[in-house]
Amino acid sequence: MLRLEPRAQTSRAWTWGSPLLALLITVVVGVLLFAALGKDPWRGLQMFFWEPLKSGYALGELMVKATPLLLIALGLAVCFRSNVWNIGAEGQFILGAICAGGVALLAGKDTGRWIVVAVLLAGMLGGMLWAGVVAWLRDRFHASEILVSLMLVYVATMLLGYLVYGPWKDPAGYNFPQTKTFEAVTLVPRLLSGSRVSLGLPLALLAAAGVWVFLFRTRAGFAQQVGGLAPDAARYAGFSSRRALWTALLVSGGAAGLAGGLEVAGPIGQLTPYVPAGYGFAAIIVAFVGRLHPFGMVLSAVLMSMFYIGGELAQSRLGLPKSITGVFQGLLLFALLACDTLVNYRVRWGSTQARQGAV
């Protein structure tokens, strides 16, 4: 019989080892899945772990996908560390895209380059607004932020649908539900020619550094986390739980909104009903696998992008459904949560009965 024995001290080794073990488990299951579907497991692994890293262009694509994941995850990490469960980052992403798109649509042929700043700012504010609704409902009515933020994802999706099927539909677009493509001047500048990597990447990395400083070197960040670790201690210290709630949601809403803005004023270039790509949910996994730590999340964002790109390649080259990405992502999170037990517990063989005597 396997038995769990609490450790006297949390294991540092397993804090970093657990995500690796979880990845290993996911890979093993993946190999079995490929085999069960009649595909060559080795080729499958290649799609996921080698192809996305193979060339400069491939790396660029990896960064393009990792950028929104990292941004959203950074905001979510602040939230989860504060015990605020913002599940609706996807909705905040959509609102960011909508607002950014709205500003971008205002641009004409003669608008100056400054409009990029306005577009991204609008994205950030849109996300903050949507998250602000969640914060207000929790602050004022004690409504669960989990359920409210999630409901707002559906509402945001409907709002986007309404806009692209209705008032914002491109009159020259053959009645497809999409806005006109944005003027080139509104698009986020690319870093290198020949690659789609944009200014978004350095922005995301800067944000990661900023979040690290906030969480680990400022009193405000400390106060934020104490609220999540021990709410009674936070009250005792006098840390405002209201401020922590609003900070957490506005930061994560802004991050998700900015990510939305970067996507529409970047790779997508217009608003369509397909703007929501599930990054808001995948970012939850990125956050946990990255241990809610900015540096860990940089790595896990790259890993998650590999899953995305691998899934696309598996579809186009091996004929596997694209939804296999979702399976792996979910599996990774499950495996991580299970492996995390090792951080606080030791696994032992033997029964819990006494070894000798009466019992």
């Binding site: 769990l4 989990i146 509402v155 309404y162 979910g330």
Partner: protein, 306 residues
């Protein structure tokens, strides 16, 4: 007049979906476990149920498959949360995300499938009563079963010793443990039964309610079911009532669209979600009241021997 009868019938039908899932979640939560994976369980159950009916032609087997899928996923969740002590919120979320991904993957081959002709049910005699007949007595047996289940749950929770033990575990697992009750096993049982009911709800969606399979077809009903348990302050009768109310809101959108009301269709589709938010806000605003009604250990981890 007929239109109203149809509206009521549709409301009961839609409400059944929510009620089944929410009653299952209620059982979970009475034991103190919050399972955010409802949406994922329902999706996997929907695809399992649909696939089973496609291959076997039997609705009953389809429902069984759905229940089995829900119970299995719930068991995995239960072992992780109850024995390995993983965070209840994160694990439930993981279940929802995994369920969404897995169901999309597993359902790929069933997207264009059609089910054999759905039966038409009517209680002889009662169904002929004008107005009330079509509204109340022409339903799939699951609708009536749900009402019966609600009654059974009320009896179980408030009149039986086993139900008392369940409520005690949810109220204070430490006290129950000190008295010698196997708290973890009781919680696991509650989680698995709850998962089976969520699974039944999911199967009902794909086998009866809208007999097809499409990725993401549960469309947030699992989350609404979660909100319902809070809305109903953890009482089965109120869950049923709330489920029908929400079913009504959902049906309202079709009714309004049909009546040519000049509101964009997306706004109407958003109605149930907006309604959920409003209801949540209204119900939650008195924290003292919630505290008295909520199982005190809900969402908190339990470690025997600590």
């Amino acid at each position: 007049m007929d239109a109203y009868a149809l509206l009521i019938a549709a409301t009961l039908n839609a409400g059944t979906v929510l009620a089944l899932a929410s009653l299952g979640l209620l059982i979970n939560e009475k034991a103190g476990v919050l399972n955010l994976g409802a949406e994922g369980m329902m999706l996997c159950a929907a695809v399992a149920g649909f696939a089973t009916v496609v291959h076997t032609g039997s609705d009953l087997l389809g429902f069984a498959a759905g229940m089995g899928a829900g119970a299995l996923l719930a068991a995995i969740f239960g072992v992780l949360v109850i024995w390995l002590g993983t965070n209840q919120y994160a694990t439930g979320l993981a279940l929802s995300l995994f369920g969404a991904g897995f169901s999309a993957f597993a359902g790929i081959n069933y997207v264009q499938e059609k089910l054999p002709e759905r039966g038409h049910f009517a209680i002889p005699g009662l169904a002929d009563i004008p107005l009330v007949g079509p509204a109340l007595f022409e339903h799939h047996p699951m609708v009536y079963l749900t009402v019966a289940m609600c009654g059974a749950l009320i009896w179980f929770l408030y009149k039986s010793r086993a139900g008392l033990v369940l409520r005690a575990v949810g109220e204070s697992p430490d006290s129950a443990h000190a008295l010698g009750y196997p708290v973890r096993r009781i919680r696991l049982a509650a989680v698995v039964v709850g998962g089976a009911l969520c699974g039944l709800s999911g199967a009902y969606i794909s086998v009866v309610y809208t007999p097809l399979w499409v990725e993401g077809m549960v469309a947030g009903k699992g989350w609404i079911a979660l909100a319902l348990t809070t809305f109903a302050t953890w009482r089965p009768a109120r869950v049923l009532l709330g489920a029908y109310l929400f079913g009504g809101v959902t049906m309202l959108q079709f009714h309004l669209q049909g009546a040519g009301v000049d509101v964009p269709s997306q706004m109407l589709t958003a109605l149930p979600y907006l309604a959920t938010i409003v209801v949540l806000a209204l119900i939650s605003r008195n924290p003292a009241w919630i505290r008295v009604n909520m199982p005190a250990s809900l969402g908190k981890p339990f470690h025997p021997g600590s």
